[in-house]
């Protein structure tokens, strides 16, 4: 079967600094793939390059077997490749409902209609509310997004990206700043997602990683250090040696200070 997402020698450099260094990665359809590595390993740059926010210096990105490297971020999103942001990127002057409805109305192809008020588009409104409910924000639908707490903003970010009906979704540290309860809700939500959806997730919380991931890739200095099932990564000597010295693997992956 064609992999949902395939990276071939993907490289992104800033002058002499290579933030993403010839990354090869294959994510099968329906897979939950975790990307871990210490801060500065190039995870966020990799996401941005895959999503098209940044142009690749070299290499290719294939989405369902089709080369999308030359496409803009917006075109990739239209083909179902979406991402969330490490720092919530919301529409702070709009209501919580509007934030999600923006994603829904694009998918339902009514984003440029102005023949009647938005609340008249019942399917958009209903779908947006469903997505808000799934992250537990339905009660705040009519608040302005800027009134949300940090954790709630992360939830909204998740609802928004899922509302865009992605084929492949990349979560950039989704649980950073969430409370324990919110993290639990997020993990449950992710477990409940249909297997038609492919998930790549950058995560520091190793409990979440080993609970959700089918496969784990370790990124170090912009390059792939190891890739495999969670159990294999846990016990991988190369991973351990490369950056631990003697310490426990978990400490390193959590960025030490966390």
């Amino acid at each position: 079967m064609t992999p949902a997402l395939r990276l071939e020698g993907l490289t992104r450099s800033y002058g002499s600094l290579t933030a993403v260094d010839h990354v090869d990665l294959t994510v099968a359809r329906g897979e939950r793939h975790a990307l871990i590595g210490p801060n500065g390993a190039g995870k966020s740059t990799l996401f941005a390059t895959v999503a098209g926010t940044l142009r690749a210096t070299s290499g290719r990105v294939l989405l369902n077997g089709r080369d999308v490297t030359a496409l803009s971020e917006s075109e990739r999103a239209r083909r179902g490749l979406l991402r969330t942001y490490q720092h919530s990127s919301l529409f702070l002057g709009c209501t919580v409902l509007d934030n999600v409805a923006l994603a829904v109305q694009r998918v339902q192809r009514v984003a440029h209609r102005f023949d009647r008020p938005a609340r008249g588009f019942r399917r958009v409104q209903a779908r947006a509310l469903e997505h808000l409910e799934s992250v537990g924000l339905a009660g705040r639908a009519h608040d302005t997004a800027s009134e949300l707490s940090h954790g709630e903003r992360r939830q909204l970010e998740v609802a928004m990206v899922l509302a865009a009906e992605p084929a492949v979704v990349m979560f950039d540290e989704p649980t950073a700043g969430m409370s324990a309860a919110e993290t639990e809700r997020f993990a449950t939500l992710l477990e409940g997602l249909p297997r038609s959806l492919t998930v790549v997730i950058v995560e520091h919380d190793l409990d979440v990683v080993f609970r959700l991931a089918d496969r784990v890739t370790v990124l170090h200095l912009g390059a792939v250090l190891a890739s495999g099932p969670p159990a294999a990564i846990r016990s991988d000597e190369a991973v351990r040696a490369a950056y631990l010295g003697a310490a426990r693997t978990e400490d390193l992956f959590t960025g030490g200070a966390r």
């Binding site: 999503a51 926010t53 803009s72 971020e73 917006s74 075109e75 999103a77 239209r78 979406l82 991402r83 942001y85 990127s89 919301l90 529409f91 702070l92 002057g93 709009c94 509007d98 409805a101 923006l102 994603a103 109305q105 694009r106 009514v110 984003a111 440029h112 209609r113 102005f114 023949d115 009647r116 008020p117 938005a118 609340r119 588009f121 958009v124 339905a138 009660g139 705040r140 639908a141 009519h142 608040d143 302005t144 800027s146 009134e147 949300l148 707490s149 709630e152 928004m160 865009a164």
Partner: protein
């Protein structure tokens, strides 16, 4: 221009019941406002009525500025150009073709749409202050063109426009012109209000708040921005046609820097993003320019300049912001 932030988020207010009530109140307010405005010629004399006619025409221009600046987040100083295109088109139609108001408005609308389409593609590729700069450059180019082009009277302007007629009847008095202008302005308001509340309006607010995120969600902001720019050009041109219907004389001054600046000031005073605020701002600004300037030896611009500076320092969210603030605190407590 952010909402008043509180450090502690309010506990999740379960599905707020006040929303439908607010909608009902808004409809009631709109009906009351329309009724009051329609009654004006029955109460006031000819001069105040003609003054208010101009306010309505100017308010339509201000609406178009609000559509761009308040709703889409593209601050503009170029809308006076399309206002002028509309005014000149209506005046030319009036002088050479017909005195029919509807034809004049329709011709102005198309001309404004075309002018915005021809010039807008350059501007919408820019963001924020660069957009402001480009619209100013476009507006001033059109202003200078009107000032030198003999076909439209050059610096002398275009005079000799016959009184506007509606449905074949020449409007005999200031009051009837007022009603005509009020009707068209109300229609323009309704169109802009509908756009603002529609999915397209939501798209535009999304672009205002976070254009990069819109792209990441699969939107193409460029065409959406170009569309609203053309729409705003058409709305401004309708305002210009209404202005010409009342004043019956168009000069390059009507599309100058000062008019563009006043329109932007009206939006800022009125609170960008709402629709009624900028309309009130438009009335206020025109009142100051045309009435107060008589008391300061014709130098109204001096007062307005000072108002600009004062507004920036004292009311960053405008009139609508003042009105909203008490309700916010009430909701919090």
């Amino acid at each position: 221009m952010k909402a008043v932030e509180t450090t502690a988020p309010a506990p999740a207010v379960a599905a707020r019941p006040r929303r439908p009530a607010r909608r009902g109140r808004a409809v009631a307010a709109a009906v009351t406002a329309a009724a009051l405005l329609a009654a004006v010629p029955l109460v006031l004399g000819a001069y105040p009525v003609s003054m208010m006619t101009r306010m309505l025409a100017f308010a339509v221009l201000v609406l178009s500025v609000d559509l761009l600046t308040g709703i889409t987040g593209m601050p503009t100083l170029g809308q006076a150009a399309y206002f002028g295109v509309g005014a000149y088109t209506a005046a030319l139609v009036g002088v050479h073709l017909t005195s029919d108001g509807a034809v004049q408005v329709a011709a102005a609308l198309l001309a404004g749409l075309a002018a915005a389409a021809v010039t807008g593609w350059i501007a919408v590729r820019a963001h924020g202050i660069v957009f402001l700069m480009l619209t100013l450059a476009i507006g001033e180019s059109v202003h200078q063109l009107a000032d030198t082009w003999s076909l439209v009277g050059g610096g002398n302007g275009l005079a000799g426009m016959p009184p506007v007629s509606v449905l074949g009847t020449a409007l005999p008095a200031a009051g009837f012109v007022y009603w005509w202008v009020l009707a068209v302005a109300a229609a323009a308001f309704a169109v802009v209000a509908l756009v603002a509340r529609s999915p397209y309006g939501r798209t535009l607010r999304g672009i205002r708040d976070n254009e990069a995120r819109m792209r990441a969600l699969g939107y193409r902001p460029g065409p959406a921005k170009f569309g609203v720019f053309c729409l705003a050009g058409a709305v401004a041109a309708v305002g210009g046609a209404l202005w010409a219907a009342q004043v019956r004389f168009v000069s390059p001054g009507d599309l100058g820097f000062e008019v563009a600046a006043l329109a932007l000031l009206s939006v800022v005073i009125g609170g960008s993003g709402t629709l009624w605020g900028p309309c009130l701002g438009a009335a206020l600004v025109l009142l100051v320019r045309d009435n107060l300037s008589a008391h300061v030896g014709g130098h109204g611009a001096l007062v307005l300049g000072a108002v600009f500076v004062a507004v920036v320092f004292t009311m960053p969210r405008g009139l609508a912001g003042l009105a909203r603030r008490p309700r916010r605190t009430e909701a919090r407590s």
